[in-house]
């Protein structure tokens, strides 16, 4: 009952006309940027973060929610029409979606992904609203050692378990943690790794790293192989609307996808690619027309797309209740929270209920707006895909540097952006995942702070980590997740490429 009351209160916050406007702008911008090839939700949020810089926290977080969902939807449009998934979570959608588009059924593919995202988003947001307060109750009892152990789990699952190569994932993670060391140590005031450069005293900005790795790196990467794979837009032919048959074949995959996506997203197990592929293979098994798979089966779009959206709402559970980002997008959203001096976690629910419940309510609203906005505007989004590639990437770089300039326009910051861009290019070239680096930068300092707090309480005895049941269990899980891929080499792991 408390949850319902809080949620109703959240709606009164989110339904103010100004908040609705922010939400609408967010959904619109998010879709517009997310639809551009090579740009996934993480980058969409990173690029648009500066736009929300001067708004009040409530309004901009609501805009954020819109950007997040909009970016996800835009990503699946690109996956279906270009066969160019902007992020690993859209890989499964692209498999069947692009085949459907080639067969002249692009309209129904986009429609089932939009409506499926809506259904999944709605159910998963309800799940979030009811799970979050419960988890907050649990989280209040967490000690620093438990938080530390949770972060270790997140480190391992983000970098080692689901990538192509645990070695490359861990390398990316450790470089991120090393970057997180730069700056003044918060507990003692000791400057670390600043080499006398005053601009480095405040540490490396998460947005600079993310935009550098994702946007600038992607631009370098695309430019370096531009003669190799020209992308072709598949024009939408025929009706946009789903037939009765399409509906009948879509509803069950939507629900099953949601059932995969939300719980896996809510666990600190990183990424939406696992539930999307689980959903894809389940639909393939259950489908009455299995021979259609590989040629454009609508179930193969409906299921993974729902799983993708549900897991996105799922990742908000650890983010809001524990302050724990488990995906690159969530890491950047956390940076957004911190930009306004807000620290997600159990305290935020107690101190700023307006804000948290307003955000959750606006997730519902963003979802509704997305369906209303996107079905009629598909034509517009498709036209965005037709921007000539040189202008497209030049524009992306302009936006990327604009964000950095607006927040901190020093040449040092720009040089870092450039350097991170080049590192991002090299990482793409040699197939290193970039998301763990972003997560390492933001979680590294948090993990260090929790560990030091824990050891201060225990007067320096590290056994405290193993004497508490919760932290001991979590560390055990992390250890297993780290060792398992090395032990079971050759075991089929999900192939995950990056944003």
């Amino acid at each position: 009952m408390d949850t319902l009351l809080s949620l109703l209160h959240g709606f009164t916050v989110a339904l103010e006309p100004s908040k609705l406007l922010f939400c609408l702008i967010g959904v619109f911008l998010g879709t517009a940027v997310g639809v551009l090839p090579g740009i996934g939700p993480a980058l969409t949020v990173a690029l648009l973060l500066p736009v929300t810089f001067k708004l009040d926290p409530g309004g901009s977080l609501i805009m954020f929610a819109g950007i997040y969902y909009g970016g996800m939807y835009g990503g699946s449009t690109t996956a279906i029409l270009l066969n160019a998934p902007g992020e690993s979570a859209s890989l499964a959608t692209a498999l069947e979606g692009s085949k459907m588009a080639k067969a002249g059924r692009g309209g129904p593919a986009l429609a089932t992904s939009a409506i499926g995202s809506f259904v999944a988003g709605l159910i998963a947001t309800i799940g979030l609203a009811f799970l979050a307060p419960w988890l907050v109750e649990v989280a209040v009892k967490f000690g620093p050692w438990d938080y530390f152990a949770l972060m270790i789990v997140a480190f391992v699952t983000v970098s080692a378990t689901f990538g192509d190569s645990p070695l490359r994932g861990l390398t990316s993670l450790f470089l991120g943690i090393a970057l997180g060391l730069i700056g003044i140590d918060k507990l003692t005031g000791q400057a670390r790794l600043t080499f006398g450069v005053p601009e480095l005293l405040n540490g490396v900005e998460v947005t600079t790293l993310a935009v550098g790795l994702f946007a600038v790196g992607e631009a370098f990467y695309v430019a370096s192989k531009r003669f190799r794979d020209p992308e072709e837009i598949i024009p939408i032919k025929g009706s946009l609307w789903m037939t009765k048959e399409d509906w009948k074949r879509s509803w069950a995959p939507w629900l099953r996808g949601t059932a995969f996506g939300f719980p896996i997203g809510a666990l600190p197990a990183g990424g939406a690619e696992v539930p999307t592929f689980l959903s894809y293979s389940t639909e393939k098994k259950l489908c009455k027309y299995p021979d259609e798979f590989g040629k454009g089966a609508i179930e193969g779009v409906a299921g993974p797309e729902a799983a993708n959206n549900a897991s996105a709402a799922g990742t908000l559970v650890p983010l809001l209740t524990l302050g724990l980002p488990t995906s690159a997008t969530a890491a950047i959203m956390l940076a957004g929270f911190q930009q306004y001096g807000l620290n997600p976690g159990p305290l935020l629910f107690a101190e700023k209920p307006d804000l948290v419940w307003g955000l959750i309510a606006s997730l519902f609203i963003a979802n509704v707006m997305l369906v209303i906005l996107n079905l009629p505007l598909i034509g517009l989004w498709v036209r965005l895909l037709a921007i000539p590639q040189p202008w497209l990437y030049a524009g992306i770089l302009v936006f990327a540097t604009m964000g950095t300039l607006a927040v901190n326009g020093s040449p040092v910051e720009l040089t870092m952006l450039f350097a991170f861009g080049f590192i991002g290019y090299l990482m793409r070239r040699y197939d290193y995942p970039v998301a763990p680096m972003v997560v390492g930068l933001i979680l590294g300092p948090m993990a260090e702070a929790q560990l030091r707090r824990a050891l201060q309480i225990s007067l320096g005895d590290p056994m405290i980590l193993l004497q508490n049941p919760i932290s001991a269990t979590l560390l055990g899980i992390a250890f297993l997740a780290l060792v398992a891929p090395f032990v079971m080499k050759g075991l089929n792991r999900f192939k995950a490429s990056e944003d």
Binding site: A406, D431, L451
Partner: protein, 159 residues
């Protein structure tokens, strides 16, 4: 063929990554060893850097092992001219901002160079497009969002 690759032995990129990781580890460790402030109880600000440095050393050594066992994925050849154009555009941007040339000119240069790098052959037209784009962004930010972007002589005409 196989004999030749065997004889050559190590995968060069993997070796380079390994060396770089060891270098970063050394840098992190050295910086920690030079720190003066210590914590009286619990662990101090040097502990985490040492842990990270150790991790990086292990990963660096693992890369050496990888280098002899197949190495990193082999990428396609890269178009270095395209990369140079984009890098040049970013250097122009940094220089322009650093020397006080202002936002609009910097963006125009970046836009034109990137387009050139991505294969367009109309530098003058793209400069003009970048200029208009930069001006539009500058005015939007300054007037609507009250965010101040770096200004040069050109921007001062408008404010």
């Amino acid at each position: 063929m196989t004999n030749e690759t065997r004889a050559q032995g190590a995968d060069k990129p993997a070796l380079i990554v390994g060396v770089l990781l060891l270098a970063v580890a050394f840098l992190v460790g050295y910086d920690a060893s030079q720190q003066t402030i210590t914590s009286t109880y619990g662990i101090g600000p040097t502990a985490m850097p040492y842990v990270v440095a150790c991790g990086l050393v292990v990963l660096g050594l693992a890369h050496f092992v990888t280098a002899f066992r197949g190495g990193l994925p082999k990428p396609d050849a890269a178009d270095s001219q395209a990369l140079l154009w984009i890098a040049g555009g970013l250097v122009c941007l940094i220089g322009c901002i650093g020397l006080g040339g202002g936002f609009v000119i910097a963006i125009a240069l970046l836009f034109a160079c990137t387009s050139r790098g991505m294969g367009r052959q109309a530098l003058a037209v793209d400069l003009a497009i970048g200029f208009v784009l930069g001006l539009a962004i500058y005015l939007t930010f300054a007037k609507l969002l009250t965010l101040i972007l770096p200004s040069g002589p050109l921007e001062r005409l408008f404010l």
